[in-house]
Each structure stands twice: as C-alpha cells, then as structure tokens.
Symmetry: C2
C-alpha cells in the first residue's frame, strides 16, 4: 500500500533497501510488505512528488537511491491519516495499527476518534460472536458444532484483544494530552 511506504519513508528516510529492512523490523507483524513491492511504491511516490530520491555514489557498494519525504508528501500523509476510512477497509484491523504506528503525524483528536470507532466495532463483534458461541452451546452436541464454536471463540478472543489494545492506546493518548 502506498501510504505504508510513505509512512516508512517519513519515519526513516533512506534507500529502498534500508526502508525494507526497517519495515521488516517494524510493520511486518501487522502489515507485511515485500521488497519488490516497496520498490514499486517508492517509484510511484516519486512520480507523485511525495518523496524525492537522490542518487548516491558509493565506492565499495552499489550506488543507491536515497528517499526522503517532500512537504507535499507529508501533507498527503497527514490528510490520509486524519481522514476516517471509507466504510471499512479490507484490512480494518491492521489499518488502525498502522495509523497508530504513524501517530506522530496525526492530529491526536483524529487518532482518538478512530480508535474509539474501532473499539466500538470490536465491541459489536464481541457481542455478536459471543451470541454465536452461546447459541452453539445451547444446541445438541455434535463434533461439527464444536469446531464451529471454536472458530467463533477465535473471533471473541481476537475482539477482546483488540478492545484491550485500544484501551491501552487511549490511555496513552490521554496521558500525552495532560502531560504534553
């Protein structure tokens, strides 16, 4: 995704190679991105004028192209981060984590809004899936039912983890607001 690449450049300017290594250390667990895709995105970002690339000559290593965000790029990043995602993104879970990762470039109130929204959705999911589990518990026991129940329980635990996480981040934001 274009904005993942842009966010990475914002956090850590450097060569495609460097940025790929950074992605591997950071966003990998919630938004994996392959090296080849990153190179493609960097080229797109440069065409858009959102990052600028500079050729750097090297003696002992291959020449490289070093990227940094442009003011227009930072503006585009901020706008995208602050905007409420249209309905729901396919990677809804990861999207809010990505935005939190890039929280320094966001309006804190917009981040708070989006976390609150995400938490509300997670609570809706927890309730819906808990109801599924309860319904299955009330049915005749069959092997198949147990497996259906197990997959619903996954959603419940997932939702609970998401709720707990949003609470943590909300507490962090509240803390930053009072102290800073």
């Amino acid at each position: 995704m274009l904005f993942v690449a842009l966010g990475l450049v914002a956090k850590e300017p450097g060569s495609g190679y460097d940025i790929a290594a950074f992605a591997d250390r950071t966003v990998r667990h919630f938004w994996p991105i392959s090296r080849s895709q990153l190179y493609t995105e960097l080229a797109r970002l440069e065409e858009l004028g959102w990052v600028s690339g500079t050729k750097v000559q090297q003696d002992r290593y291959p020449n490289k192209r070093v990227y940094e965000p442009t003011p227009a790029g930072m503006a585009a990043l901020g706008e995208w981060l602050d905007a409420e995602p249209k309905q729901q993104h396919r990677r809804g879970q990861s999207l809010i984590v990505l935005k939190t990762f890039l929280g320094a470039y966001m309006n804190p109130d917009r981040l708070a809004d989006q976390l609150q929204e995400h938490r509300a959705q997670a609570e809706t999911w927890r309730a819906a899936l808990s109801a599924v589990v309860a319904r299955l518990d009330a049915m005749d026991p069959t092997a198949s039912r147990h497996f259906g129940r197990a997959s619903a329980r996954y959603g419940v635990l997932q939702a609970e983890a998401t709720i707990a996480w949003t609470e943590e981040v909300q507490a962090l934001l509240a803390d930053q607001q009072t102290s800073g």
Copy 2:
C-alpha cells in the same frame, strides 16, 4: 480461496446464494469472501470435479444451481487440510482457524500437530515483540517511540490471544479423544 469454498460446500450444500449467506454467518470474521468470488470458485470446483452442480427449476423464484461435494472433492479437502502448510501462508492467522472450522474433515492428530505448530510460532512472536517493547521502554521517551511501542503491543496482545485460543482448541481435542 478454493478450499474455503470447498469447505463451505462440504458443510452446507446448496446454491451459490445459500452458500454465500452461510459464509457470511460463519467464516466472515476470519475469512471474508465476496459473492462474486464464490461463484467463480464454485465454477472452478465443478470443473475440477470436486463439487457437482444440479439445476433446480423453481416456479416462484429464479432457477438455481445446487452444489454438493463429490467423493473426489471430499478426498481433496481432507488431503489439503491434513497437509502442513508450505512455509507460511500469507493469511497465516486465519488459515489455522479455517482448518479448525473444518476440523470434522481432518485427521485429529494432524489438526493437533498444526495447532501446536501455530502456538509455538505465536509464542516466538510474543517473545520477539515483548523484547521490542522492552527495548523501547529503555529508550529516551519521545512521542514517536510511544507509537512504535503501541504497535508492538498490538502484536503482543494478538499473540497472547492466539496462544489462549490454541490452548482452548487443544483442550477440546484432548477431550474428544478421551470421551469419543
């Protein structure tokens, strides 16, 4: 994905429309599939001889095509479920949930193996991400650091939820083995 569609037909034979509704009630939270994709997959499955479709005439409603799995389809499903996934699938999390959902068609020992493997991976992730959190806690406090920490915390909570879930399913399997 082809095997999601095949698993759905196995669990609940019916028209594409019916199966889409079933998918929406069941696998949606860990493996969303669109109606149009489902129709495509059903056509592919029929070409492969893994499901058979029968035209059903209806008076008051449009005619429909009803699908059910063939013996060859059930064999293919069982083989795919029992096989260890090659390295790691892109949707690693959800893959094991899907397999659990379809656990009735699996060899229980293979499911146990794959759950154990998944749990071990989650434990590795938890350790790695806990280390990241600890490292960030030891650093100078900056706003950016807090956000990086938050995204790592997401991974930790996620991993913990996964571990808790695998434990539940492992307990269920142990229970089925002794009682049944």
